[in-house]
Amino acid sequence: MIRLRPLRAGLRLRANSIVAVAALAALAAPALAQKPASREILIRNATVMTVTKGVIENGSVLIRDGKIADVGTSVKASADATVIDAAGKFVTPGVIDCHSHIAVDGSVNEGSFSVTSMVRIADVIDSSDSGIVIGLSGGVTMANVLHGSANAIGGQNAVIKMKPNRPAGELIYGNAPPGIKFALGENPKRSNFQANPARYPRTRMGVENVIRDAFTRARDYREVWARYNADVKAGKKRVAVPRRDLELEPLVEVLEGKRLVHSHCYRADEILMLIRVARDFNFRIATFQHVLEGYKVAPEILASGAGASTFQDFGGYKIEAFDATPYNTAMLWKAGILVSLNSDDGERQRRLNTDAARAVRYGGVPEDEALKMITINPAKQLGIDRWVGSLERGKDADVVIWSAHPLSSYAVAEKVYVDGNLEFDRAVAIRDAEARRAESKRLVEQEKADKSAKPNPDAPRTAPAPRHGLHHDDACEGGGE
């Protein structure tokens, strides 16, 4: 038998056992004190943009037990509910970034091979990455954390909730079907990077060949196991157990429709190429990522059933991004394709709301549709729209209170709830920053005061870790994310 998703089982186990630790960790972290999610929170007098059920003026959102308990104009809360008067404010579901590289320890690229489907982002989630707080500050409550784009077939993704400084298992969203990163074009070709030793492929036809070869091997692998399992079932004793291959197992899952393919791509021709390969192997592409030339082949993308997750207005930095146009979003949307806007970047992530605004300007996407592109649409692309992506009763309480209309340049996320927990509060964040400075200063002085012992020459020296700065596709020509 091929055991599917052994990792997830492990995570669940861990998630249960680690509750007590969360309390300890919270003491250590300068984060917001975590109130139990069972208390009710009522946000009222706001312009509530539900995304799926229209805009409610003077509306309320009630949060209970980490879920949205009610949305509307006449919402009843219990007497001890925390009431937040949001008059003049706008309330939306949390922004979902369908392409991110935050919160990852070490490189987001396993750059060695052209197929690295055996590596898993979930293994290396780092919840202490300040990128999580930055994302929250732009209203982002979930991110599709993807492997880099150095390989035609990259590693396995992790869909996370933005919960800073919590055990990794609590960030990983169990409802999300597993996914995998593919990449086409310059990055897997290593066009902007002198790979040493040179790595196959160097052309787009080579990229196609690598993917086709991998799925051919995966099909054979599935066959070997099917045969073995049938033999065992038939009571045969003299059969040798086949090898479990962690590279091919996730590809078998793709073939069986159990794993979502998120493929980095730019040029129209490579988009069509992957559609052909997927057709030949009978799997579906969940999303084309970046897909800057998607507008050139919108009918084909629509027919393939794939979604598109694009940069709204970012291109030109490499030749395959030279035909980028901010009208891409509108053209894909008008073609009927499910479109989301992503950041691929630790900084852009906090302004996906204004990216959505640009979709309105370039090509006339209606405002409510633009808002969908950073909420319910990415949720659909990630297969989690039953639980997140809109303000609806019963969904996860991922809620943002904005200072202004979220499509405005001047909108600032003031409060952000994730699973009903206030994970970001602008006022608290500013206060905390001052407190961190004061605390650091105090501790250093205290340390200097009782400096009795000689320094240990072998001691590791505390020094700031390199920032998780390289969060976007082309920041690292060597990697390509």
Binding site: S130, I134, S137, E186, N192, R267, A268, D269, Y295, K296, A298, P299, D313, F314, G315, G316, Y317, K318, I319, F322, D323, A324, T325, P326, Y327, M331, K334, G346, E347, R348, R351, T354, A357, R358, V360, R361, Y362, G363, L407, S408, S409, Y410, A411, V412, A429, I430, A433, R436, R437, S440, A463, P464, P466, R467, G469, L470, D474, C476, E477, G478
Partner: protein, 451 residues
């Protein structure tokens, strides 16, 4: 029609794309022609130099602003533009840009911003500037009419050019062919950096970095001394032809305007310790200084930074606001606080994209300082128009809606810092520029693809 054709060709044969910028498609249909007269009527006029005129008109004659006011007289034959519900702003200035210098960032063949070598005062961005750069029309569509294009790389990268973003040649476009000498100030603050050559993190201690900086500054001071001697020797020969001939040195000659106070040093420094050292250095060398900052001044109180800059009369060009704090303990919107802090202290500053493809985002970058950092919307507009014009010494020609200035302006249906706002018209030196770019062309070519 012709233009649409070329895009179709590109779609069929992607390699042709490489050639496109060289063919200069971006300049097709643009470029100075006989300037017509215009009057934009019944619009909100954001003059910047004075209060906004809520309902007024602006007259453009011979490439210049001929009249601004609630009531104006337009010459006969002026083209009329109904500005009802629209606003007119002076054209925005990208106060440190790569426009014209960089096409496709990842392709060295199209990068003419960064020359090799460490000390290259003789280099002029003017000479690299490609008027057909594809990103110029994209920047114009967002209201940018002028760029201060800046070379990069090494200690002294060369001279910056102030150019209007319309014309067939840089001779036509340049307002100031050489407006400053770009200097990347060596940092005396240790820390970690990622070394792509070895793919590892390199550490340097504060004192090592400081020693290295002082060494570099000694070298720089030595270079300046030589340049002074050289200038003196040149001058002496001008008055005394009997002196033996002098071997010409283009680099030393290029430094003369800096040392004689005609050309400011455009000094990139970020940490406040480096900024202070840079000011000290420039004071000692008696050269003018404009500071180029990424808005992260290091572990220092912004009010202290602002009052220092105020006292020293240093103007600041802020690099892209799309930046994160340099330190995890800082507030998450630290870099966006800096412009507001400087505005409150009365320090002149301007916004800059420091990019080519992203130059178009300049107004949205400024908006971040408004949203997060308490900068007023009016000051944000000033820091995109009149302030950079003043800092770069071109306020007599651009930066505000004033009679006699170049007609560099744009007309919007709303706040230009809002991404939903559309730019309806844009004028550079009185020319009504078609709001067409490679991006709109691609849209037009593909929006109704058949089949």
């Amino acid at each position: 029609m012709k233009r649409r054709m070329s895009v179709r060709v590109a779609a069929v044969c992607p390699l042709a794309l490489l050639a496109l910028p060289l063919l200069g498609t971006a300049a097709l249909g643009s470029g100075p022609a006989a300037a017509e007269s215009y009057v934009i009527e019944n619009a909100r006029l954001v003059t910047v130099s004075g209060p906004a005129i809520e309902k007024g008109s602006i007259v453009i004659v011979d490439g210049k602003i001929a009249a601004v006011g609630a009531t104006v007289t337009a010459p006969a034959g002026a083209k009329r533009i109904d500005g009802t519900g629209l606003s007119v702003y002076p054209g925005m200035i990208d106060a440190a840009s790569r426009l014209g210098l960089v096409e496709v960032g990842s392709i060295a063949a199209t990068n003419d911003a960064s020359e090799i070598g460490d000390i290259k005062p003789q280099l002029r961005a003017f000479e690299s500037f490609n008027p057909a750069n594809e990103f110029i029309p994209m920047a114009r569509i967002n209201g940018i009419t002028t760029a201060v294009s800046t070379p990069g790389g090494g200690l002294i990268a060369g001279q910056v050019v102030v150019a209007d973003l319309d014309g067939y040649s840089i001779e036509q476009m340049a307002i100031r062919p050489s407006a400053a000498m770009a200097l990347s100030f060596p940092s005396g603050v240790g820390g970690e950096s990622f070394d792509f050559a070895t793919f590892s993190v390199k550490r340097s201690s504060d004192s090592d970095a400081r020693k290295a900086r002082e060494k570099r500054l000694d070298d720089l001071a030595g270079l300046f001394d030589r340049a002074r001697s050289y200038a003196k020797a040149v001058k002496a020969r001008a008055s005394d032809p009997t002196l033996p001939p002098l071997e010409e040195d283009l680099g030393l000659a290029a430094l003369e305007p800096v040392l004689s106070g005609q050309l400011p040093l455009f000094v990139a420094a970020n940490d406040f310790r480096d900024v202070k050292r840079a000011v000290e250095f420039c004071e000692k060398q008696n050269v003018k200084m404009i500071l180029r900052s990424d808005a992260s001044f290091g572990p220092f109180d912004l009010a202290a930074v602002a009052s220092f800059l105020k006292e020293k009369k240093i103007a600041v060009i802020f690099g892209p606001m799309y930046t994160l704090p340099s330190d995890e303990d800082d507030r998450y919107d630290m870099p966006q606080q800096a412009p507001g802090a400087l505005a409150r202290a009365g320090v002149p500053f301007a916004f800059a994209s420091e990019d080519s493809a992203m130059a178009k985002d300049l107004p949205y970058q400024a908006a971040m300082a408004v949203a997060y950092g308490g900068l007023s919307k009016d000051d944000a507009i000033r820091a995109l128009t009149l302030w950079p014009a003043t800092i770069w010494g071109v306020a007599d020609r651009i930066g505000s809606l004033e009679v006699g200035k170049q007609a560099n302006l744009f007309v919007t249906n709303g706040d230009p810092l809002e991404p939903r706002t559309d730019v309806k018209y844009l004028f550079i030196r009185g020319r009504n520029i078609p709001l067409v770019s490679r991006q709109t062309q691609l849209y037009d070519a593909y929006k109704s693809r058949v089949p």
